[in-house]
Symmetry: C2
Subunit: 203 residues, 2 copies
Amino acid sequence: METKRLLIADDHDLVRETIAAYLRQQGGYEVLVAASLEDALGKAQSEAQIDLVLLDYAMPGMDALGGLTRMREALKCPVAIISGTAPPDVARRALRAGAAGFLPKTLDPMSLVTAVRHMLLGETYMPMEFLSEIGQPAEQVVLTPREQEVIRGVAEGKSNKEIARDLNIREVTVKLHVKTLSRKLGARNRTHAAMLGRDMGLT
Amino acid sequence: METKRLLIADDHDLVRETIAAYLRQQGGYEVLVAASLEDALGKAQSEAQIDLVLLDYAMPGMDALGGLTRMREALKCPVAIISGTAPPDVARRALRAGAAGFLPKTLDPMSLVTAVRHMLLGETYMPMEFLSEIGQPAEQVVLTPREQEVIRGVAEGKSNKEIARDLNIREVTVKLHVKTLSRKLGARNRTHAAMLGRDMGLT
DNA sequence: TATCCCCCTATCCAAATGCATAGGTCAAAT
DNA sequence: ATTTGACCTATGCATTTGGATAGGGGGATA
């Protein structure tokens, strides 16, 4: 296997250098580092082809997962998210946003190497702890056809009045559907319903 | 190349059988068909390993992209979406939801074969027409840190009052942020802002 | 037939949201 | 020193949403 070029971006010096040192020690990797998103984007363009980027979730300029998107656009290579706090839903969203993987900082070094190797092969890495609530549950929520049409309108930012016009029904009826589908989804309001609906691919 | 097993699910008989026949004629493919999502899920489990599924977007039981999710969970193979109407944003969402590709029914047969071949190799297929507005624009919207915190709250379905409490500011101030960030995102209201924000990975 | 379920409608009221106008502090840049 | 931008607040008002309550019609099914 030829030498792979990695880029590690994390504003926490200790974490960044530790990981970098560990990977260098493994051999077979050339490791670049960056302390901010801007820095990382700069290196990504000035340096030669990079094979994998590890991006800290909480870092100046990251804008949550916005930084992931920018990095993926700038480079055409896998980008993984590293996070110290690691709420599982962030992991889910990271993958949904196109991350190659999700690495909690609590990951033991061996697993880190495994993960990097996986992602270099184009696969997606996700630690066991998160798998449980990512893959399966997707509890089957069944919306009636009408409710599906309504939630689509809601997700497009339409008002009840507009949805009513589009579907050729009264506004009160739209309200009814919004209320019932929100209940089915377990949403607290229309905005929440729209988000949950999108998470489940209902829109 | 060994024989690959495909599953085509479409409730429109003509479309389904035409595509199936065409692919069989190419040789190298064993093509199964299904007329509904339930049917497809059943075949997926009873039959031997399937290598690629083509799923009609508008089909009984599909529940928009919900059917895609279910199919992907049931099988562990690439699943592509076929659509006759083909609004480009559906294509985008399909990919985001993990589709292996998006095939408009207007696709010419040759391209279909190419697409299937690509997807069998694990790559993602997307017709040219859609590429333009999928990859690039991602126009850089810059939210201030405060606005980011606020839109996160909005996306979680919180009310302005709750967000205010969490951020320890007045409700009016939250309203202000919601208004300004909605303008930046080009959203018509908070729900729309939440959706656009998620699309851009801001949450 | 009786009983669901989906769909539709109405009225009324409380709460949330959206919008405008009119300020203020503070830090950074010109 | 002035300006600019991010941030905060207040008052007031129109609109939208959310929820309760109370129905009718039609289709499927037990």
